[in-house]
């Protein structure tokens, strides 16, 4: 491309980007006036006034502590399931695992079955993550309306797709020569993966799984709105009853919880690295 062409291209691309942002505001019916007008100020003021004092009696706090544990266990089991789904999906979606370490200069063209596994796995991974976890939850609630199970399954499947995608990128990023060295001693795909790819990708994988756990805590709160027990459910009940003093405490619990997880995962990352 010539210099002049490139300048024109940048101007056109820039104009299109600005237009797209504008269109998005219009499409979302975003209106700054509604946030700043007198009515909004009044409503917001009312809401804040209702929030104070936050409810903090022992009975309520112990209820929320139990709900926090529910939320945590849904998030934990969901993440565990997601990792269990994500690792095999990622392995089968990684060229260096499926086709061999030197796939870039592949000596033999990928065999038919290997290619089929690769395409199928990438398709499943994409399908799992293209549906948001709340939508999965709505589907699973219809199938198995039993307490926490739909929420766990929903997080497991939706995050399984996300984790599968990210893990496979991390697996494809590992140094190829140690993996090729294992192939050269006669190790098959599974062993090459377990001894060469997995150990090298472990750090970034653990780090991403910890981040997903944090996301799962927030997601499992959202699941409360479709019936799973936990902080989200309490939040929804309080909100429905206009008990904003309770809403305030529940939100505070959530914020503290996420900050604690952030600390814990950061400590873990530093230990592993």
């Amino acid at each position: 491309m010539q210099g002049g062409d490139r300048t024109t291209f940048r101007w056109v691309a820039g104009a299109l980007a600005v237009a797209a942002v504008g269109a998005a505001f219009v499409g979302a019916e975003f209106d700054v006036g509604r946030l700043t007008g007198a009515k909004a100020a009044h409503g917001g003021g009312m809401f804040l006034k209702e929030c104070w004092p936050p409810r903090h009696d022992a009975e309520f706090l112990s209820l929320l502590a139990g709900a926090t544990l529910d939320t945590l266990s849904v998030a934990f089991l969901g993440t565990l399931l997601a990792v269990a789904i994500g690792i095999p999906l990622a392995a089968m979606s990684s060229r260096n695992v499926i086709y061999g370490a030197r796939f870039a200069g592949a000596d033999t063209p990928p065999a038919g079955t290997a290619r089929a596994v690769f395409v199928a796995s990438r398709t499943f991974t994409a399908a799992f993550r293209s549906v948001p976890e709340v939508v999965w939850a709505l589907l699973f609630v219809k199938a198995a309306p039993l307490g926490a199970l739909p929420a766990i399954l929903a997080i497991g499947v939706a995050y399984g797709g996300l984790i599968g995608k990210v893990f496979s990128e991390q697996m494809e990023d590992v140094a190829p020569s140690p993996v090729a060295a294992l192939e050269a001693v006669g190790a098959g795909r599974v062993r090459t993966f377990a001894w060469g790819v997995l150990p090298q990708a472990f750090g970034p994988m653990a780090s991403y799984a910890a981040y997903r756990f944090e996301c799962a805590v927030r997601a499992s709160v959202l699941m409360g709105f479709v019936g799973a027990k936990g902080l989200g459910f309490e939040l929804q009940v309080s909100y429905g009853d206009f008990l904003f003093g309770e809403v305030f405490t529940e939100t505070a619990f959530l914020i503290v919880l996420v900050i604690l997880i952030e600390w814990a995962s950061d400590a873990m990352r530093r230990r592993i690295a």
Binding site: R102, G105, D107, T108, A175, S177, P178, A180, A181, L182, E183, A184, V185, G186, A187, G188, R191, T192, A194, W195, G196, P199, Q200, F202, G203
Partner: protein, 269 residues
């Protein structure tokens, strides 16, 4: 043990091997020399069954390798140990696990799985004894990436010894270590191969190391075997010519061009 006849191999659009004939008998120790780009690494990758020749035949233990696939190919690979320049140990794993990985192709799935979880006492002891032979016994439980370059090279040698293959290939094993250490590592390779009666092929850049440790030298140039002689019949000038970088090519700035035609000419001798 190894018999290559007219082996050709193109990498991308570059003819890396253009008709290599080479026979190595069981128990022989051979140095392979040649300027950069001569095809030494490609030759080693063909011999260790990582690359298939485009043409010609490669027989390993009197068996043609061209039709090896899947489990047969992996079984054949277990009989060849390869040591690379560097960076082929898994840095995040302990020395122990890197060494144990040498026998991954040999073990059944049960043995491999239990070793992945927790290696047996017998395997740990066996790994410890090969580490002792290469002088890193005290590093057994350290992470490989915490070791120096020379120590990592010893881990790779220990893995090759633990693999217990009859054919050992070392592709520039001392290219990135200082001269003292280079002497030590080559001596170590040769000594362990001699003790165990293994066949050893080493690709080297140091004439003095070749003279001291090898009885046979194969010179490779432009993807062809240029000479294949007992070391005492190779004079210093010839050897030196094969170690100098090709200044003419470097000066012209172009990629090394094959001097001869597409096929290797038969050797004069």
């Amino acid at each position: 043990m190894i018999r290559l006849a007219g082996v050709t191999r193109t990498l991308g659009s570059t003819p890396a091997l253009r008709g290599v004939d080479l026979r190595v008998a069981s128990g022989e120790r051979v140095a392979v020399v040649g300027p950069s780009g001569a095809g030494k690494t490609t030759l080693f990758r063909v011999i260790n069954l990582s690359l298939r020749p485009d043409g010609g035949t490669y027989q390993l233990d009197d068996r043609n390798t061209s039709d090896l696939r899947g489990a047969d190919l992996r079984a054949a690979r277990t009989r060849i140990a390869t040591i690379h320049q560097q960076h082929d140990v898994v840095g995040r794993m302990s020395v122990l696990r890197n060494v144990l990985a040498g026998r991954l192709g040999v073990w059944g799935w049960r043995h491999a799985s239990r070793t992945w979880i927790a290696p047996s006492q017998a395997d740990v002891e066996a790994a410890h004894s090969v580490c002792a032979r290469v002088g890193i016994a005290d590093k057994l439980f350290q992470r490989a990436d915490r070791l120096s370059g020379g120590q990592q090279q010893r881990v790779a040698i220990a893995r090759a010894l633990f693999q217990d293959a009859r054919l050992v290939l070392a592709d520039e094993p001392v290219a990135s270590v200082d001269p003292m250490l280079a002497e030590e590592i080559v001596a170590l390779l040769v000594r362990s191969a001699t003790e165990d009666g293994r066949t050893l092929l080493v690709n080297l850049h140091q004439p003095d190391l070749v003279r001291r440790h090898f009885a046979r030298v194969v010179g490779l140039r432009d993807g062809c075997v240029a000479f294949d002689l007992p070391t005492e019949r190779v004079d210093d000038a010839l050897l030196a010519a094969f170690f100098t970088r090709r200044e003419a090519d470097d000066a012209s700035g172009g990629a090394p061009q094959p001097a001869a035609g597409p096929e290797c000419r038969p050797l004069g001798s």
